[in-house]
Amino acid sequence: MDFLNAVVAITNLLIIPATTYGAQLALGALGVTLIYSILRFSNFAHGDTMAFGTVVTIGITTLFQSWGISLGPLPTALLALPFAVAITAVLLVGTDFAIYRFYRKKRAVPIIFVMASLGVMFVMNGLIRFMAGVKDQTFDDGTRFIIKARDFKNWSGLDEALALRTTQVLTLVVAIAIVAWLFWFLNKTRTGKSMRAFSDNEDLALLSGINPNRVVMVTWVIVAMLATTAGVLYGLDKAYSPYTYFQLLLPTFAAAIVGGLGNPLGAIVGGFVVSFSEVMVTYVWKKVAIYLLPEALEPNGLLQLMSTEYKFAVSFAILVVVLLFKPTGLFKGQSV
């Protein structure tokens, strides 16, 4: 019984949240890694891109709600998502047209692109503040729980509760669908293969007649999809605020680098490595210890390795360890 209670406790507050968060990070990191492998720079505006997509989704959701459109038990935001992706894609392709293309033509060094992405970050940050202000916003209007804590307790007779929120399941389902589609696209379609070729060897890709502008444009559209989805799922699961989204940049980058920058599979694994480390280090292990250890060894403290405020330190520590010992990441990423 104690063992089951411990398992439920771990599942409820560690495995479920970490998996959800990991899926959100993985989608974000996939966007970062795609930009890195095709456009060859670390996009500092990625956090704000996620925020922009989310803000647009919130706007459209509100509109739908006012028209009385809803998805029943699912959040209306899911219906708004495709429209938001389209709008974000227009913004990103427009940004590329207005800003990055110029530097690509000049074959500028990556750091100049990064600088330009700082400028874009500022502008987008201003833009989302114009559009949605700075306050926390929640926009989940679906059924909150699939498994309610009380129901689970009654059903299982355990002391520990287990709750499963709709958004958590939704995050996983949507993330798996998108990742599956992305891998199919990259590995099976002509356009997807041409993107991989461009990422592998730009000069040879050009010699083979691959149109760089098309590759770049498709990349931005996919990035818009990944970033918007990641942002919306995160917002549904937690809440939207411009600063939180900006701060997502660090774990997202960490996930991409840990997995191997430029490697899509690595980005996904990296997302889960970062999320599980974060949650495990900030998890209060006391309850689990009480269930599992003999009474004599019962801990007095919370058994929390680090307080939640330091979750960034975890992303960062993983980042440093990887940079020190395996700079190309767990999966072989592009050159260091």
């Binding site: 400028g119 500022f122 260091v336």
Partner: protein, 440 residues
Amino acid sequence: MTQSMRAILFFGFMAALFIIEGSTNFWIFSGSWNTSLVILNMALVSAVMALGVNLQWGYAGLFNTGIMGFVALGGLAVVVTSLPPVTESWSAGGYRIILGLVLGALTIAGTILMRMKLPQGRLRGVLTLAILIGGFFLYRAVFDSGVQAVEAIDPSVTGNIGGLGLPVLVAWPVGGLLAAGAAWIIGKTALGLRSDYLAIATLGIAEIIVAILKNEEWLSRGAKNVNGLPRPVPYEVDLQQSAEFVANAASFGLDPVTASTLYVKIGYALLFTAVLVTILVLSQLARHSPWGRMMRAIRDNETAARAMGKNVTRRHLEIFILGSAVCGFAGAMMTTLDGQLTPASYHPLRFTFLIWVMVIVGGSGNNLGSVLGGFLIWWLWVKVEPLGQWLAQVLTYGLPEGHWIAVRITEAAAHMRLFTMGLVLLFVLRFNPRGMLPEN
């Protein structure tokens, strides 16, 4: 137009802006010398920060996105240097905290030492884990009990260990030292890898430093802020009570209150100017030294410099530490100016990326350019909001009050800052990438 002519022209323009601010109440100008000095003082601090970043970026091409962290460390330096020690806290748990930190440091040092001595293999891996885990729990046991004891002491007033009780000016170089230490750790890790990695690593360390300030109440009081930091200049109240000062003020035709605020702000301005000029001169000297020339040679062609046997990573580490130290110094100056440490106010867009805009707009690699950028961009940062409001007024002229468009535009004006800074950065990068005062 020659370079020096341009410099004189631009700095003259800046000076004019500050004079108009002080003397004319018109458009977006307040006509208050007090406001003008407030902007000027922060501009001076910003210029010092920009000089630090220019050392890293302009001289060596290093991309540091953790300026906020180094600035915050400077702020912390003011607290731990200049506050009087809280004796009860020290006897309650202060020494335990220090012991805990020492244990933590020993754990890391021990691990590194052990890894250097032992050959690679399973034993080394197991020992590494054992030392790290054992050390961590030992550290937490000692450290946590100390922290609890300290934070329990009069939490609404202190709850922290205070500082060394040294003069506040000492805190400025200490801020530089703290920042240099953090820069050393980061540089050791991320320099020598691709340039983006340094950017991401510094972004991370900055967030962590600020998280520490926000959460370690025994050190920085966290959200409770540290107020009443000592000042290097007299207090206004004391001045107003001095008969001599009041008499002097009267001879200028000023009332004591105005005179005392101006006096204090001018005092800061003079101090900051002295620092700015010193760092500027030192930077210029460094730039024209063999060391500076080598640095630029490395920046312009790293491969060639490496091939010639230059230790590029080592040089990069040096300049990274130096530039970060300057930022830490400036951070200490800023906290001194504020008279308080508010950990929640450190925001990367304001303290990291804004400084970047200053350096790029002013002219990467040119020290005078960075100073100019610091002044101009800070001035803009302050004035964009009134400008936005003015613009909103013009745009909504003729609309009835409370019309939704008018409301929307006026609201939006409040968020003009980031937007404008982004546009400025993008425009300069695109059309004038070498900045207002280009490197010669």
